[in-house]
Symmetry: C2
Subunit: 309 residues, 2 copies
């Protein structure tokens, strides 16, 4: 499906470069995670196997891409950016592993494969999530991530805030509450900003932290990430209604089944789609300060609203 | 029950000072955690309530005590040490919350109260554990914990190593594997060193990191913690056999029920008790380098083997 507004000239070329850049990034992050989380013959290998299973699964790697692209804007050493990208993906993967548990969303399928607790078992999945979250902080605090310990501490702080009770974990709590309480548009927006938006914001912010970006550039990236994150979530809700399991690689129709308020249930399909398009345009506008150098971040915004998976 | 060797003269006085110091530490840590994790009226309050429930429950606070006492040896600002002690207790509490889950140990009782998933629900307990682990790293990376970001990064790194797949999480994986595989004394010792020993070692090491201790002092604290941790775990196994639910505040006889190898099942009660006493003496001997200034850490070793809870 194409976005509901006509594509500008050259859109296909830009999307082709984007796809190539995203594929290169996905490979680099896969390699970095593989190095940070090697297979082992130790007696406790099972938990490392589950961590690798949950992390090395060929996802879109949107968050790592945002880290690497935002870092590139400030001339950051790619190896440092890749470590932060790997840490972000570890946190994202841990959240999916725990979110899929029977006590949470009870999902059997993720990216077209059995979820971690199906491939292993529930106890191992709980531990694998815990291990990935812990490893992410270990990676950030390591001197290899940045020579300046102040920068490393800033990364740890920002990631912990994005992932914790006032960020992703709080958002997941709200998501559970939304199963039994009626959330309006404001409450749903806040839920999604916390549940997915804060980690997307961290991904963009991380490049600015690594590159000691000036405040206006940081503000621009945060504003971009804020709009991108909401657009991303609205499209997620649309895919839950319009997508197929074969396309998305995960169970669909789950929100409606649970009677959960989503952007689509509140706004309807057409207004939700229009809102996502508007947010994507707004996201791109925040990047004007980079005078065209952020063209791949601009293209991501189009990609996010056009995606089918 | 008294330890199986006669107590030296003045033992009761020392144990009385220790009890007072531990009570003061427990209160200080309770206050610090309460400040770092305040009640909230936000919509996601439930996860914060569960985090507070899992953390603010009047435990012995052994690990915080080790942080505060080891920091005191090097003249560290008590407020800094209390923040690290709070972070350690958050990680310990998260591990108990996840360990008690139905998919893991399936425990209903912890410190005489319903476990977190019983008092709340499983999904909230998973998130509360995740939130506490994340908050611990946020606390360590905060400038209020130490003015030097290098020290803060060292704390994050050391905690992540102690809590992750090569530490506590790996030990918990081994503990699950031990339910179906026969572990010998060597494998059981390694399991316990990872499952509980590494976090006890971090607690003692943290004081040395905060106080920029010289290598011999760090080595002494690590060796002390190593022996103390094993003694602690052997006594835990003894209490699972000899203790009552009223004394320990948790379910007893679980290991035998699960057919799990423990120090007691491998060594028998008498040799296990003798081994715990020996390890406690050995732990104390490592503190000679502090020329009596570590008398409360010495007393903790006696306390650990004499405890009934």
């Amino acid at each position: 499906m194409e976005p509901s507004v006509p594509n500008p000239p050259g859109w296909t070329d830009v999307q082709t470069s984007l796809k190539q850049a995203m594929a290169a990034c996905a490979q680099a992050v896969e390699d970095t995670i593989g190095r940070l989380l090697p297979s082992t013959d130790l007696a406790e290998a099972r938990v490392f196997d589950a961590m690798r299973y949950g992390c090395l699964n060929g996802g879109k790697r949107l968050r790592p891409f945002l880290v690497i692209q935002s870092a590139d804007l400030f001339g950051v050493n790619p190896e440092c950016a890749e470590r932060v990208a790997a840490a972000v993906e570890m946190v994202h993967s841990y959240s999916l592993i725990h979110d899929d548990l029977p006590a949470m969303d009870d999902s059997d399928l993720r990216r077209g494969k059995p979820t971690c607790h199906k491939a292993f078992d529930e106890a191992t999945a709980v531990l694998a999530g815990d291990g990935l979250l812990t490893l992410a902080f270990e990676v950030l605090a390591d001197p290899a991530t940045h020579e300046d310990p102040n920068i490393r501490c800033q990364l740890v702080t920002a990631l912990a805030k994005a992932a914790g009770g006032h960020g992703m974990v709080g958002g997941q709590m709200l998501d559970l509450i939304a199963e039994t309480e009626r959330f309006d548009l404001g409450a749903t927006t806040r839920l999604q900003r916390m549940k997915t938006g804060e980690m997307i914001a961290f991904s963009c912010e991380a490049g600015g932290i690594l590159g000691r970006a000036a405040p206006p550039h940081r503000t621009a990236l945060r504003a971009y990430a804020h709009d991108l994150g909401l657009a991303f979530q609205i499209v997620d809700d649309l895919l839950d209604v319009e997508g197929t399991e074969a396309e998305t690689g995960k169970s669909v129709g789950r929100d409606a089944e649970a009677g959960k308020a989503t952007f689509v249930s509140i706004l309807g399909v057409d207004r939700a789609r229009a809102q996502a398009d508007l947010l994507a345009k707004q996201a791109v506008a925040h990047l004007d300060i980079f005078e065209g150098r952020a063209h791949l971040l601009e293209a991501v915004a189009d990609f996010v609203v056009a995606r089918r998976t």
